[in-house]
């Protein structure tokens, strides 16, 4: 697979530099939040939430790592600690030898960050103006800036968009624009938070291809959080799963499937019934969840949904339905099932 080739190239480049250098390291990192909850009219209860509960790992220069887990598992808290936004409660954390919490600004020159649903581009100005600002904020030498910009523009098809005000860009175009903005100062690490969320298939493919090339040619280390299984499969040589603030898996994407492979992968048929009913009973699928009038039916990914839908529609009062492709959550859920 092309993915592997990309990752290998990155690692090889690292070896040339004298052994795989550790770029990111965490030792027993914790993050505890004090949350105040309303208990009664005026009384407030204080209790602690361990968002990250003792995480340790190392990432070598040139790796592409997927960091995944259910919502609220501690993913974004970890990324915020790695980028210097949040201060860890305990443990040791270094990125490129820098303690992010203490030297936030120095670290900023060494990392690039893309927040999936939050653009850092200037809404009312042409795209290229945002890049001009980056050049000055990060004091990027002109020649290097021109070279980096040209490469990003070329690879991300930004040419026709440079003079367009950002507010007129589509979501996919804006995401590509944001990724370019994060790379102009040659960061050694690129953090991406849900880089393909909400994008159409073509845009997703473009973004992935670009990240692959970036890693292969520039040796940039990439850490991304995602809900999209394909991001992981097509990009990452390594994946880490976090749940309840703990690292529960660290290995190859293939191994992730094996860990969860109690059976072949399944798709999900989500039924919206007209009223609450006991779990429906149809051939070729099993009910995995009932929530009010909604029910989730799991069926083999290889099977067709059409006969299932026909069966359900004939026998139950159906108001709406949708089919969900397998995603990270399902894989993780099955991973737990497999372990248990």
């Amino acid at each position: 697979m092309g993915v592997d080739a990309g990752v290998d190239a990155g690692v090889d480049a690292g070896v040339d530099g004298g052994g795989p250098e550790v770029l990111i390291e965490l030792h027993g990192v914790e993050k505890v939040f004090a949350v105040r909850r309303r208990a009664g009219l005026l009384r407030r209860e204080k209790h602690q939430v361990r968002a990250v509960d003792g995480i340790s790992f190392e990432v070598a220069r040139g790796e592409v790592v997927g960091y995944i887990g259910p919502n609220g598992a501690g993913k974004s808290t970890t990324v915020k600690m790695l980028t210097g936004i949040l201060t860890p409660s305990a443990g040791r954390l270094r990125v490129a030898g820098i303690d992010p919490a203490r030297e936030r600004m120095r670290l900023a020159h060494r990392i690039g960050v893309v927040f999936g649903q939050r653009t850092t581009l200037w809404w009312d100005l042409p795209l290229k103006d945002s890049y001009g600002l980056m050049r000055r904020l990060y004091r990027i030498p002109r020649a290097r800036f021109a070279e980096n910009l040209e490469r990003c523009v070329d690879r991300l098809d930004l040419g026709p968009l440079l003079d367009v005000p950002v507010r007129q860009l589509s979501l996919g175009q804006r995401m590509r624009g944001d990724i370019a903005a994060a790379l102009l100062h040659d960061p050694e690490v690129l953090y991406l938070d849900e880089p393909t969320i909400g994008l159409d298939v073509v845009s997703k493919a473009k973004v992935r291809e670009f990240l692959r090339q970036l890693n292969a040619e520039r040796g940039t280390t990439v850490l991304l959080t995602t809900h999209d299984l394909q991001d992981i499969e097509q990009l990452c040589g390594r994946v880490m799963v976090i749940d309840h603030g703990r690292l529960v898996y660290d290995g190859t994407p293939a191994g992730l499937h094996a860990a969860g492979a109690a059976g072949e992968s399944e798709r999900m048929l989500v039924l919206h019934l007209e009223r609450e009913l006991p779990a429906v009973c149809v051939e070729g699928a099993r009910v995995v969840k009932v929530e009010g009038p909604r029910q989730w039916l799991a069926f083999p990914a290889g099977a067709s949904a059409a006969p299932l839908v026909a069966q359900v529609a004939a026998r139950y009062p159906l108001s709406d339905l949708s089919v969900r492709e397998p995603d990270i959550e399902d894989v993780i859920a099955r991973m737990y099932a497999g372990r248990g």
């Binding site: 220069r61 020159h109 990027i140």
Partner: protein, 298 residues
Amino acid sequence: MAEEVLVPAARRDAEPIRRAFGAGAAGWWGRAGAGLRGYRLIVGMWIRSTMAYRASFVLAVCGNAAITFLDFVAISIMFTHVDALGGFTLPETALLYGSASASLGLADLLLGSSERIGSRIRDGSLDTMLVRPVPVLAQVAADRFALRRVGRVVQGLAVLAWAVSRLEVEWTAAKVLLLPVMVVAGAAIFAAVLVAGAAFQFVAGDAAEVQNSFTYGGNTMLQYPPTVFAKELLRGVTFVVPLAFVNWLPALYVLGRPDPLGLPDWAAFASPAVALALFVPASLAWRAGLRSYRSTGS
């Protein structure tokens, strides 16, 4: 080539500088410089953004000048019914009005948007500022920089000029010098209040409006002669939140009137020192606020 790729130039270039200065020495001056530079760059972007909606900008500048102008019209209307308010004539009141307005206008122009930090915290976009190589305070101050606010400054200075032309005061060098010092130091005092207000939003984002009591409320108060107000109120704005140093004390000296609280004459010249002194608690509050944000994420 591989070396070139793996060790970006920015990092190589910066390394010796860092070694030479060390973490501490680069410290305050480095941050202040980086802050000013970042502030200037971001402000430039906002000004250009504003120009994308030119009609709205023109309306906003006029509106800004008008809002303060009508303020003064209201005071003028008061003076169509009376010759003096609290013993002060219209030109004397205009001196107070113009200087307070210009000071608040300047502070508001330069870092008035910092009050938006509450919504930045709520929608999480403060995080994007924390990954930039610019001090957060500079970014917050420059956020949504609104050039239209220059309207208030111009209007305040115009009223101030009119007042000076009408006042029957024996101008000495000290009095002449005191006028610009009053406006600038007053702006600095208001600026410190704005920084403290922004810091306050880290702990109580919903309570942002309290800040208005001290900025706009303080400004309204300072536009009128101090003799109009109850002694308790005067003590509060002299000793607790020292807004009296924005313009009252210097202006009283210019007008040759005694301070209702009996402060000595030299207090009129203390405004710059008060402004500097205020920045200490304000910046400590800011740092504490940012630290609490970075440890709680909210």
